[in-house]
């Protein structure tokens, strides 16, 4: 019981601290802006730990953060192998192929307004469907190893990136196109000097959406069959064996990988579209 009480006291104290911080004169400084969510996160971990210990919640229902941390530190090789299998081989390769193909297809259909008019609604429609459902089919076609996971990722990321790129290629204003026209610029000159740069904010929007989809696709596809490694495989087998600390460890890795992947693409976006108003303000 002492654990629960301590956790609640800690929670109250941190709650008070965050309110003070957010109302203080420094509340707009960078440090406080990072500190407040960090305190919130830590509070959740502490309360979680305290409540689990204090109420003796069994580890097969909810392991305390300390047990998860311990599991992570003792299972690094397994976690690393799973990470490589699922993220590097499955998600990343699928992401590169899918996004690359989407951009190429967008450029290819760019010269045909007819195809664009047809593909855009169809693409938008497909992007809203539960594409993850293709996983069992693709696992049958491409086998249990990472190739089938990459295929699922390709299918999942393709349409959002395609739709965004097609929209982006239309983003250059009529005036800017007229300007290129007065220079007698060729189609490819206009594409590379005007329309692709102008499309970058849209393309990156698609690429950012695709990061999350890629990881989800690679993990969930493993629920339909995989070799004996991979994050999705580990999660589903450890859940079956009630090894929840290992499940949480994999989830932690997935969360870190997901945000790092997103952060990386966002950083690239910042570098490429530094000129865009949305990037300039911050």
């Amino acid at each position: 019981m002492i654990w629960v009480v301590a956790a609640l006291i800690f929670w109250a104290a941190m709650f008070w601290l965050n309110i003070r911080l957010s109302k203080s004169a420094q509340s707009h400084t960078r440090a406080v802006r990072l500190l407040v969510p960090a305190i919130f996160g830590i509070t959740i971990l502490v309360v979680w730990e305290g409540v689990v210990r204090g109420l003796n919640v069994p580890g097969v229902i909810l392991p305390p953060p300390s047990a998860i941390a311990a599991r992570i530190s003792t299972s690094l090789p397994v976690l690393w192998a799973d990470f490589v299998q699922t993220f590097v081989k499955g998600a990343l390769s699928g992401y590169v192929i899918g996004c690359g193909a989407a951009v190429l297809v967008a450029v290819a259909i760019d010269r045909s307004p007819f195809l664009q008019k047809g593909l855009l609604p169809v693409g938008n429609f497909i992007a809203a469907l539960p594409i993850i459902g293709t996983a069992p089919i693709l696992v049958m076609w491409f086998g249990f190893d990472w190739q089938s996971k990459a295929a699922v990722v390709v299918v999942m990321v393709f349409f959002p990136v395609l739709v965004n790129t097609v929209q982006g290629l239309a983003a250059a204003s009529a005036m800017q196109r007229d300007l290129m026209h007065t220079y007698s610029a060729s189609y490819w000159q206009t594409l590379f000097k005007l329309r692709l740069p102008a499309a970058m904010p849209f393309i990156f929007n698609g690429l950012k959406i695709a990061t999350t989809l890629a990881l989800i696709g690679a993990i969930v596809a493993e629920f339909f069959g995989s070799p004996i490694k991979g994050m999705g495989f580990r999660i589903s087998t450890e859940v079956g064996r009630l090894g929840l600390d290992m499940v949480w460890a994999e989830i932690t890795v997935a969360a870190l990988a997901g945000s790092a992947f997103y952060g990386l693409v966002a950083a690239m976006e910042k570098g490429v579209t530094f000129w865009h108003p949305s990037q300039r303000r911050s």
Binding site: S22, P37, P121, A128, G133, I137, F223, V247, G263
Partner: protein, 287 residues
């Protein structure tokens, strides 16, 4: 109307490609069978056989449509073999989860907009959570709740709620913050209270953002419910149909479940879209 022709053309092209792929991918099995039986096959034999295998690598579109028809219109809806039955199982979890997730998301967004401490503490996590594959915890939620004796609808609904929650929070916060300084100043010149500003300015302005998030949210809810059916080896629901189909190599069954899910998703997103148009039109905000 000018869009109908291009869209139909693209759909026709997809169907044509699909048929071609079906012939190409299923032909191997046809030839193997023929070789085993020692029969010579003509091209038309191959064509007809690849269109009508029982477990094709890629079922032809009409096979999927026939299966969809047989398992919906021609089965009693209470039958375990009816896709309407399985679809309803998945749909009910989706709708329950969506309602919970949306309600909680809107409430949290209101809290975030009105309380700076909450904003600073929670908002970064809500945004970050969109970049992580939360779907990965679905199996755990199912199994843990199962071991607590909670089964069936509720665990799947919780996953659905979880998936629709964050998009709604983020979109709704954006929407509630969308009135510009001038509009807020105007409310201030009327000496409006915070509550009045909320009902008369912030909430109406947030509607376009809310509906955009709702479309994302309901699609995510459906995915959540489907994935929620995978880990425990559930036997009911569209996800379960896909899983059992993949165990037994019943490709036609997988494809028809996939299409049922797609149709369901399209209907749900479409309904939200109609609601959006009607609501915004009534509020004079449609474009």
């Amino acid at each position: 109307m000018s869009r109908a022709l291009p869209v139909l053309t693209v759909v026709a092209a997809i169907l044509a490609l699909w048929y071609a792929a079906a012939v190409w991918m299923n032909a191997t099995w046809t030839r193997d069978q023929a070789e085993r039986a020692g029969v010579e096959l003509s091209v038309s034999d191959i064509l007809t056989d690849t269109m009508a295998q029982e477990r094709p690598v890629l079922p032809a579109p009409h096979q999927v449509v026939t299966e969809l028809w047989n398992t919906t219109a021609r089965k009693k809806v209470t039958s375990k073999r009816s896709l309407v039955f399985h679809g309803w199982i998945t749909l009910s979890a989706t709708l329950l989860g969506f309602a919970i997730g949306t309600g909680a998301g809107i409430l949290l967004a209101i809290g975030i907009v009105h309380n700076r401490a909450m904003d600073m503490s929670v908002m970064p996590w809500a945004i970050a959570s969109q970049t992580i594959p939360i779907l990965a915890i679905a199996p755990m939620i199912i199994v843990v709740l199962n071991s607590l004796g909670i089964q069936g609808l509720v665990p799947k609904a919780i996953i659905s709620a979880y998936l629709s929650f964050f998009p709604v929070v983020v979109g709704m916060v954006k929407g509630l913050r969308s009135p510009d300084a001038m509009q807020l100043d105007l409310m201030r010149t009327y000496n409006a209270s915070g509550r009045e500003s909320f009902w008369k300015l912030r909430l109406p302005s947030s509607m376009p953002y809310l509906f955009t998030s709702l479309k994302i949210g309901i699609a995510a809810s459906l995915v959540g419910a489907i994935v929620g059916e995978l880990p425990t080896g559930a036997i009911r629901g569209l996800g379960a149909r896909m899983l059992t189909g993949s165990y037994y190599g019943q490709t036609i069954q997988i494809w028809s479940a996939l299409f049922a899910a797609a149709i369901l998703a399209a209907c749900l997103v479409g309904i939200v879209g109609v609601l959006q148009r009607v609501t915004l039109k009534r509020m004079g905000m449609d474009q």
